[in-house]
Amino acid sequence: MPNWFRLTKAVLVAGSLMASAAHAEETVTWWDFLSGGDGVRMKQLISDFNAAHQGKIKIDATTLEWGTPFYAKVQTSAAVGEAPDIMTYHASRIPLAVKQGILQEITADHWKTMGLSQSDYAPATWDAVTSDGKQYAVPLDTHPIVLYYNKDLLKKAGVLGDDGKPKGMDSRENFTATLKALKEAGVKFPLGSVTADGNFMFRTIYSFMGQQDGELMTDGEFLAGDNAKKLENALSVLADWTKEGLQSTYTDYPATVALFTSGEAAMMINGVWEVPTMTDLAKNGKLFDWGAVELPVIFDHPSTYADSHSFAIPANKGKEMSPEKRAAVLEVMSWISKNSLFWATAGHIPAYGPVTNSAEYKAMEPNATYSSLTTNMIFDPKTPLAGIAGPIFDVMSNFFVPTLNGEMEPAEAVEEIKAGLEDL
């Protein structure tokens, strides 16, 4: 019988080992929509996290399609209890999510457990994840738009300042003069703009509205008072640039990036998420000397539209989260926030203050140059109608394309936008 005895013992030992392993390691299901250069960096962060939490927590990540497909899936799966344990979420979509009841609140206790607090974030960022005084997500970053520029072309046209930044960033007249100088120097498109994609232009136009303290929504009313006029002003600036041939027309997103990187457009207004594209090209010696700065001040004061990638916990219907699972999820959010310096290489500005205040971050270029704009950020209006791929986006963008390409007068577009918004 010694054989029997030994076998039983081995089985018992193996069994208890497996049981303890299963007990100790908590698997966190993760969904995100990051499929570009930032997606690669997020995968790196996730595997770093897994390595640091070997045997304790394991992130099982899936990347889904950005925009409406992602949010439609989250909504339907939360309703039947099949949503993940943690997901990335745009702060601009939080009001709608709260109305739909698909997010769990991040309570004061949770913040304490994570070792994060309000003072770690810029006020605008904290406010963006807050709805009715409660927080529904942990901000990971803010991703504004910036002005990319080709230093070689600017120098040739004599519009590169001594500080290495473009000249004429302080007013509409001066910036237009810079564009004209570039045109005269033989640049095909002084400014590359995503003029074929109204969704994208929403960011630029909303920034220009913010520079005049304009609001899209005042107490539930769209474009109240002189806000309509401010929208018209913002549109006129861009429409005039088109009229004077200073800006690329009917250009979609990939074409805009291509125009800039191939040197046909000297400047480009685009999201910070294109920073990795430029860095990688420059590293391989395939790019000119480039830079990125905060948007020019066209109106009264600096202001830039931003959104925030944040982490949220879905409210799975009929499925209570175990305390062990919640602890694991909180650890994921905390660890990644505190290690988000690497995330900055994706261009995004980390939301966690101690990271952006660190010496390492301040040495990162061009990130450190444009990160000053966090004090001038504006987020989407807080309404279930706002946000990435939301109805407001749609209605407005519909009239941006004809206006920015000289088919429609700005005043007419504003009328149409107002009527369209009221139809919602």
Binding site: G198, Y250, G390, D394, N398, A419, G420, D423
Partner: protein, 294 residues
Amino acid sequence: MLRNRRRETLFALALVAPFVAIYGLVFVYPTIKLFMISLTDAPLIGGGNYVGFDNYTRLASDRRFNTAVWNTAYFVLITVVPGTLIAFAIALGVNRLRGRLQAAILALFFLPYILPVSVVYLLWDWTLNFQFGIAMHVFDLLGIQRIPVFKSTAWFMPAVGVITIWWTAGFSILLFLAGLRAIPAEIYEAAALDNAGIWSTFRRITWPLMWPITALVLTIQLISQLKIFDQVYLFSTGGRPNDNVVLVYYVFQRAFQSDQGGRAAAVAVVLFIIVIVVSVLNFQLTRLSGGRSR
């Protein structure tokens, strides 16, 4: 032999039961549910309060719904009859070829049909993109002003119409070819003996004998074009979705973007009724005209 009718009925019922059950589950039940949701103010997920016919009455003054109806009608107009005629003409041409050549040419015409819509979109965007499209370089060579095809309302629907015909003609061509091959050669021989010309052979023999196939193709085309969504969705991304909106796209916008399940359901019901009315009408009309020419 004596037959037990009761047993036979039971047996028949048992045989059709799986189909009836599945049909009821995936078609009848959702349809009834759709009608019920359309009378409420439900969001995309979950129930709502009963609001009567509000969702329907507000459609009358809904500008985007109006645009959607007109765009859908316009799209049907520019694709259904032209698409059918073009497919017929190509089938007639292919039918005159023989052997390997016929197979090769047929394959060329059929090729686009097997492409998924996303590939169709990429191909045509690559061709007609305003900045980098290859067609635009041809325009430049010929000295023609570049046209932002998918970004202007005047060009959008015609362009999507042409692409749709290019994409889906393959299937109609196959149907027409099958029909042409089913016409006995003797009839043509008899006509040739009677000294009939090409035009009268076509008008008196081919066209009337092909009419059932033509009617079938027309009906298939009509129903599928009324339900157009993918092409419009892909080609209008970022551009002017609300000016190029079609009915199914509008349902999608209401349901998935605005989170208004009730209002989306109402639009879906209207589309459902339009499809039924139009296809019954189309079927009756083609039947009547087919009967007369025989």
